[in-house]
């Protein structure tokens, strides 16, 4: 090093400076993410009202969890969350893959085209929710008008007022919002696959379907696993669009876990119950992610 004898002490002071510069980041994350996270896990074992913050919290052990598990309504909420997440993530990955494959060759596109497609991902969720309420409106919505025009339906459908169609609508809106990201990440993955692999397969007489399964899917495995895991986590944790589009209704048909955490905490003021639901939610989402990572990873071992 150029600083000769002073090198050692300089390295030490550089270390100190390094730690010092990272300190604000660490402090923020500790105060705003880490501490609240641990606190929620802890509060799940207590009985406490949000309206009476000065009353001491009462330790109740596993009571909150026992009440959750024995409440039939709670399982319905878990199922809703899983259905919404599975539906939206599957929709995004399947449609995203189809578009990515379709445009891969012709779409060197970095122009306005690709930029416009990103819009659903970046516009505020309250805007998305509002527009879709109107797109799906039973009387005035263009979706009903379009489906009637094609004679797919005879009568307008009140999409958000029936349990099943409300869930289908939510899945559609989530898919619409998540698609740009999924598509772009898959496309970026596709563009790293060398063209000559396909050329070679073509020479050997492989069909498009065979090329997809034997070249595209294995080459994209890691990208696919990352897309699946991140989209699952983000969709599972998503609050605002459900809150704004259906509010969990009609009659709890689209109530999801994040909605329930909010309701228990800020409508029933039940801190312990809200925390317990949040804890269950985190355990579920970690489990789901681990399963997906595990499956992706094991397949890899088998291939070698």
């Amino acid at each position: 090093m150029r600083w000769g004898i002073r090198g050692l002490s300089l390295r030490n002071s550089e270390r100190l400076l390094g730690i010092g510069l990272l300190l604000p980041t660490v402090a923020l994350i500790a105060a705003v993410v880490l501490y609240p996270m641990i606190s929620t896990m802890w509060l799940a074992f207590f009985k406490e009202s949000l309206l009476r913050p000065n009353d001491p919290a009462e330790f109740v052990g596993l009571d909150n969890f026992v009440r959750l598990v024995s409440d039939g309504g709670f399982w319905k909420v878990v199922i809703n969350s899983v259905v919404l997440t599975a539906g939206a993530v599957a929709g995004e990955v399947i449609i995203g893959m189809i578009i990515a494959l379709a445009v891969n060759a012709s779409y060197r596109g970095r122009g306005l085209f690709r930029t416009l497609n990103i819009l659903p991902w970046v516009i505020p969720s309250f805007v998305t929710a509002f527009v879709w309420v109107w797109l799906l409106h039973p009387q005035f919505g263009p979706i009903n008008a379009f489906l009637q025009l094609l004679h797919i339906i005879d009568e307008p459908i009140a999409w958000l007022s029936e349990g099943v169609t409300a869930m289908i609508s939510l899945i559609a809106v989530f898919t619409w919002k998540g698609l740009p990201w999924t598509f772009l990440v898959l496309l970026a993955g596709l563009q790293t696959i060398p063209e000559d692999w396909y050329e070679a397969a073509k020479v050997d007489g492989a069909s498009a379907w065979q090329m997809f399964w034997h070249i595209t899917v294995p080459a994209l495995r890691y990208v696919l696993v990352i897309v699946l895991v991140l989209r699952t986590i983000w969709t599972f944790n998503s609050f605002d669009m459900v809150y704004l589009l259906t509010g969990g209704g009609p009659a709890r048909a689209t109530l999801t876990l994040p909605m329930q955490v909010f309701n228990a905490g800020f409508r029933e003021y039940n801190v312990g119950m809200s925390s317990a639901i949040a804890a269950v939610m985190v355990v579920l989402v970690v489990l789901l992610s681990l399963i997906m990572l595990r499956v992706g990873w094991v397949e890899d071992e088998g291939q070698r």
Binding site: V32, I98, P120, V131, P180, S274
Partner: protein
């Protein structure tokens, strides 16, 4: 337009058409909103698909009603304050941290950086009650500062990683030359590295801005009176709350105007936006 034409005349015509069709599906709801906010109300209440796609008349009334409404302007101003403050604080914090991770290696630094990124997968609702209690304890309830601190924390991890990779792409010799000339580490950072990083910092800053501009959940819990509400809560509790047809176009205008800064950022950033988003810069 020329690009679209080129895509269409390529030998991948059916594929390109599929791509175009799906782009249409992606853009239509937004188009519907923008057109809805500048069309006469009757157009949409007639539910004429042709007219929705190719509107015949435009009016500016609804836009004007919203743009001149002091309540809407208050929400917009609050959003602007929160998003701008979040952006500046995030960049300040993340710049220091990113420089530390890029140049001043110390044991545990890398682990901290990775851990920071993990916060991206933490569900927001998990933090809701403890954060609400903290905010109340520090007397920050119904105060924009609470939002700025929260949003800054959420945007810092990603800013940290974007800026770190940016700093790493700059040659070390630049700082070393400055330091041989007598500048301190921090002097080198501020006088040599930062001026060279302006493009990267601007792109990163805009991601932090988008995050803060769009955030809904914490704004819902932390703000209660309309003088401190940001656009997502303000507009969705007033302009777009009533799902009746009367103020339909006004609600559409409020939504469109709320999204205008995002439209601008999208147009300004273009490629940089796509790259950042693919890397995870805006969370869904």
């Amino acid at each position: 337009m020329r690009r679209v034409a080129k895509v269409l005349t390529a030998n991948h015509r059916p594929r390109a058409l599929l791509g175009l069709f799906l782009s249409f599906l992606a853009v239509f709801p937004i188009y519907f909103m923008v057109v809805g906010s500048i069309s006469p109300v009757e157009t949409f209440l007639r539910r004429d698909l042709g007219e929705i796609l190719l509107p015949r008349a435009f009016v500016g009334d609804h836009m004007a009603v919203v743009a001149l409404d002091p309540v809407f302007l208050r929400f917009a101003l609050n959003s602007l304050i929160v998003a701008t403050a979040t952006t500046f604080v995030s960049i300040a914090v993340a710049t220091l941290g990113a420089y530390s991770l890029a140049r001043l290696r110390f044991p545990g630094g890398e682990a901290i950086g990775r851990f920071a990124l993990l916060t991206y997968t933490v569900p927001s609702v998990l933090l809701l009650i403890p954060l609400f209690k903290i905010v109340v304890t520090f007397n920050l309830a119904n105060n924009l500062i609470a939002l700025v601190i929260t949003y800054t924390t959420f945007s810092v991890p990603f800013c940290l990683w974007l800026l770190r990779s940016y700093f790493q792409s700059l040659p070390r010799d630049l700082e070393e030359a400055a330091m041989v000339d007598g500048a301190s580490r921090l002097g080198a950072l501020f006088r040599v590295i930062l001026p060279l990083s302006v493009p990267g910092i601007v792109a990163t800053a805009l991601f932090a801005f988008i995050l803060a501009w769009n955030e809904f959940l914490f704004a819902l819990v932390f703000t209660t009176t309309s003088d401190v509400k940001t656009l997502p809560i303000g507009v969705s509790t007033t302009f777009t709350a009533e799902q009746t047809a009367t103020d339909w176009a006004v609600a559409m205008s409020a939504s469109t105007l709320s999204a205008v800064p995002i439209f601008i950022i999208v147009l300004v950033l273009q490629r940089g936006l796509v790259r950042g988003i693919t890397a995870g810069a805006v969370k869904g």
